[in-house]
């Protein structure tokens, strides 16, 4: 290929783009801001105060990183993508469950310290990190994806876009577990043994409404996963960073399926005669 010629790129020092980006750092507005970050181990700890310089457009995670780099190297925090796609940096910011990477400082009240604390529905590990492993133990209990036989001889399926679109909402879930954090059945009543929580009801809904799936999870939803414990307060929907309408679109339709299967004597009879049907 014709490479750009030497005069088209910078000679010596950094390239033009890197230099331009460095120059931007000097141009942004700085102001100092106070933070109260919960520090401690295994649930024992306290809020500690930090002050750090903040720039235009900064998110809470940036501030936490700055504090970590300069003032508290051992400040424990989980994060990965910093773009709202991986769901690692869940915390409670000013008391509200949020992703730290998607919460801009300029959307929080300016005159008061920003409080950052770990999710409260899970066992505490250190600082902002909690033990979310329970979620990873719940998932394998849900019957896995079970497709109908392929439609075409080459082993592929024909699926309409509208059927893909229908379950997209549930498949957007980034497993940040904020819905689990805010769910009072888990947070206040600690019913982790009896109830799988909103995340896994969304997961079950994604499977149940998957255009190819032919398994039936309604009995487990009722008996093992405790869908009846959800009393539709919609707290999970409110905090979902992916804006999944968890209660209305996932949980309520699943509840209806459970009711259809278990409490409608006529349909139960029909089912007995015609075999399992999936709608």
């Amino acid at each position: 290929m014709t490479a750009p010629h030497a005069d088209e790129a910078t000679t010596g020092g950094v390239d033009a783009y890197t230099a331009a980006q460095t120059a931007q750092d000097a141009a942004v507005g700085h102001r100092s801001r106070d933070f109260k970050v919960w520090r401690g181990t295994d649930g024992v700890g306290e809020f500690r105060s930090y002050t750090t310089e903040t720039d235009d457009g900064m998110v809470v995670l940036d501030a936490i990183h700055q504090i970590q780099a300069a003032q508290a190297n051992d400040l424990a925090v989980r994060w990965n993508c910093k773009a709202g796609k991986c769901g690692s940096c869940s915390a409670e910011i000013n008391g509200k469950p949020k992703l730290m990477c998607m919460t801009r400082l300029d959307e929080l009240p300016a005159g008061e310290p920003v409080t950052v604390e770990p999710m409260r529905a899970f066992p505490h590990v250190r600082d902002l990190v909690t033990d979310v492993s329970w979620n990873f133990r719940v998932k394998p209990r849900i019957q896995k994806f079970t497709p109908r036989p392929p439609d075409d001889p080459d082993g592929t399926w024909r699926i309409q876009q509208r059927d893909v679109d229908r379950v997209q909402e549930f498949r957007k879930c980034i497993e940040c577990f904020l819905c689990q954090d805010v769910c009072h059945v888990l947070r206040d009543h600690h019913m982790h043994e009896q109830f799988v929580g909103p995340r896994f009801l969304v997961y079950a809904a994604a499977l149940e409404m998957h255009p190819l799936d032919i398994a039936d999870r309604t009995t487990e939803l009722k008996e093992e996963f405790g869908i009846g414990y959800c009393n539709i307060t919609k707290c999970c929907t409110t905090v979902c960073p992916e804006h999944i309408t968890i209660t209305d679109n996932a949980i309520i339709p699943l509840k209806e399926r459970v009711v259809d299967k278990h409490y409608d004597p006529l349909r139960a009879l029909v089912r007995l005669v015609r075999g399992k049907r999936k709608d």
Partner: protein, 605 residues
């Protein structure tokens, strides 16, 4: 040797992104004991960030596509220093790997007749990327994760490997610590698969998260494996640049695939100004034809915005340098303009690019359906990595395998968008399959206690130095600045020589880094331990780049701006010499079989 917890597996997979999970699924299917170790929680690896799609010549949208065209595109994109065997296997096997994902529950966008839809992407001659909106990576990693957890593999989350262990010449496992409590752990295994991803944290401006510190490359190197093509780092042309805190976050190439255009400050589509000769025949020379292409007109040629990433990134740097950049030092990427062409453009953009819409709205306050994005290059991917056998993915260390981004070969000097997701599926499967087959032939391995003790001692040293010493974050930032400034998008000999000097100083600083606190979930300590790996890969990149006195793919030399055919016949390989110093050698690329040569020639015409 203190009594560390020891875990036994036949096959140990290090890394739980797409490549690691795909390898684990394959190895577990053979009935062997398979362990997966990952630095983060399951499902958080960088695969989740992949947006545009997975490249596979299924020919669902354009029936002229075939593995042969995909092979030729990959070789052209990689400037012919690719491992041609890997490029062949990749093109041939990718369609089956994508269909397999569907059988495991992945849902891709569809064609009108209900098959998997494929979209346009840079360097791919035909629409080839299976996708679901712009969150293909999430769909893939979740599918692999949800399928994998039912396959009988043990996942060791938030566990970082400090060293690979050997039993004589062959691999014997790994020594690691759990991040949560800081306890050491020995993994004894007959075969080890590296699937640790990239090296992006060696640079300031990067799309990569904290995890991508070159662990796989550095651990393999220290265990005696060869690294190849390390000079080839991909700077993705479109990262966010404003506000500063989001700088580097990826903006999917899918924006351009859907009709997004690049403009400079003056509103000019500058990509038409410089179309490389080897792409001239297949690139539109006017805006009208480019638009027809993204609309699916099979007679039209693709717009120059869809040229390969290395070229687009350099053109952006040129615009900025010549004073035609945007206010924040990048250029404009505009998808909103399609409202001039199609009705309901706003709705269309939100449907095809939902996470981009969300990302810009939330982080930059920009509505991409109404205004242009400001973007610039960001360190995204390393084409180079651990040198492997193209068929089996085994390294020169018996029992040590590598796949995905941490392995080298498939992409040559520049990776085509969409080829990384197919890479990790095709070669993840192969690595898992051959690692399992290898493990079956092996007698039990034994652990070398001295290796373990040395590794433990080294890992705990930062605590003994106390906090008065140089901090880990400061050393890491200095390293990133060195690499960004001196071994970045535009390279020149004296700058890279300076970088080598600085890396030497940084290596000394890293040896003195102290951290506060204790071993329980201590990111300062973790960062200190990652420094060693970052330094090794940075040195490998710099030495390889210095020796490549030409410009090719992702490697651009200001002092050697042209491609030199003499450099197209070999790969750079670095390995650890007997004295511990890094050695660099040239390894000839084996001659291509006549059949593959014929495909390349045919596609060039």
């Amino acid at each position: 040797m203190p009594d560390y917890q020891t875990v036994d597996h036949d096959v140990l997979i290090i890394g739980a992104g797409g490549a690691g999970l795909r390898a684990a699924i394959e190895a577990a299917a053979t009935g062997l004991s398979v362990g997966v170790v990952c630095k983060s929680l399951l499902g958080k690896a960088h695969t989740v960030m992949a947006e545009g799609g997975v490249a596979a010549a299924m020919a669902n949208v354009d029936d002229r596509d075939s593995w042969r065209v995909h092979f030729a595109d990959t070789m052209r994109g990689g400037q012919y220093v690719n491992n041609w065997r890997m490029a062949q296997l990749h093109a041939q096997e990718a369609p089956a790997r994508v269909r397999e994902l569907e059988a495991w529950g992945a849902l891709f966008d569809r064609t009108p007749d209900g098959r998997i839809l494929q979209r346009n992407f840079g360097g791919h001659r035909y629409p080839r990327l299976a996708h679901v909106g712009d969150r293909t990576g999430l769909e893939m990693i979740r599918t692999l994760q949800d399928h994998g957890i039912h396959q009988g593999m043990d996942v060791h989350m938030e566990c970082t490997v400090l060293a690979l262990l050997r039993d004589g010449e062959r691999i014997a496992g790994a020594f690691a610590y759990d991040r949560e409590r800081g306890r050491f752990r020995i993994f004894r295994a007959k075969a080890v698969v590296m699937a640790t991803g990239g090296i992006g944290r060696a640079y300031n401006i990067t799309s990569n998260s904290w995890e991508y510190t070159g662990d796989g490359q550095a651990l393999a190197y220290l265990a005696g494996a060869d690294l190849q093509d390390m000079e080839f780092v991909q700077f993705h042309p479109t990262g966010m640049i404003w506000p500063p805190s989001v700088r580097g976050i990826l903006v999917t190439e899918g924006v351009r695939g859907e009709g997004g255009v690049l403009r400079n400050r003056d509103g000019k589509r500058f990509m038409f100004d410089n179309i490389p000769d080897n792409y001239k025949q297949q690139t539109a020379d006017n805006e009208e034809e480019g638009w027809r292409y993204v609309q699916g007109d099979k007679d039209a040629r693709r717009p120059p915005e869809l040229l390969t990433r290395d070229h687009v990134a350099r053109m952006i740097v040129r615009e900025v340098k010549e004073g035609r950049g945007s206010p924040h030092g990048g250029v404009y990427l505009d998808i909103s303009w399609i409202k001039e062409r199609i009705p309901n453009a706003s709705e269309h953009i939100r449907k095809k690019l939902p996470s981009m819409y969300h990302q810009f709205m939330q982080l930059a306050g920009i509505d991409i359906t109404r205004e242009a994005m400001e973007i610039g290059p960001t360190t995204h991917y390393v084409m180079g990595g651990i040198r492997v056998n193209g068929d089996t993915q085994m390294t020169n260390v018996p029992g040590l395998f590598a796949c995905g981004e941490c392995a080298a070969g498939l992409h040559g000097a520049n990776r085509l968008g969409g080829n990384s997701l197919s890479d990790l599926l095709v070669f993840g499967k192969r690595a898992g399959e051959f690692a399992a087959a290898y493990a079956r032939t092996q007698s039990p391995v034994s652990i070398n206690a001295d290796e373990v003790d040395e590794s433990a001692r080294r890992a705990l040293a930062p605590f003994e130095r106390g906090t008065s010493a140089d901090g880990p974050y400061q050393v890491q930032e200095s390293l990133q600045t060195t690499m960004q400034n001196h071994v970045g998008i535009v390279r020149v000999a004296h700058e890279m020589e300076r970088a080598l000097g600085e890396l030497e100083v940084l290596t000394q600083r890293a040896e003195r880094v102290g951290v506060p606190g204790n071993r329980e979930y201590n990111p300062g300590w973790h960062t200190a331990l990652d420094l060693r790996h970052l330094l090794i890969v940075s040195e490998a990149i710099t030495r390889s780049a210095l020796e490549r006195r030409e410009s090719r793919g992702g490697h651009f030399r200001d002092d050697f701006p042209d491609k030199d055919p003499a450099f197209g016949t070999f790969n750079h390989v670095v390995r650890r010499g007997p004295d511990g110093a890094m050695q660099l050698v040239r390894e000839e690329i084996p001659p291509r079989p006549a059949e593959l040569d014929a495909i390349i020639k045919e596609m060039q015409s």
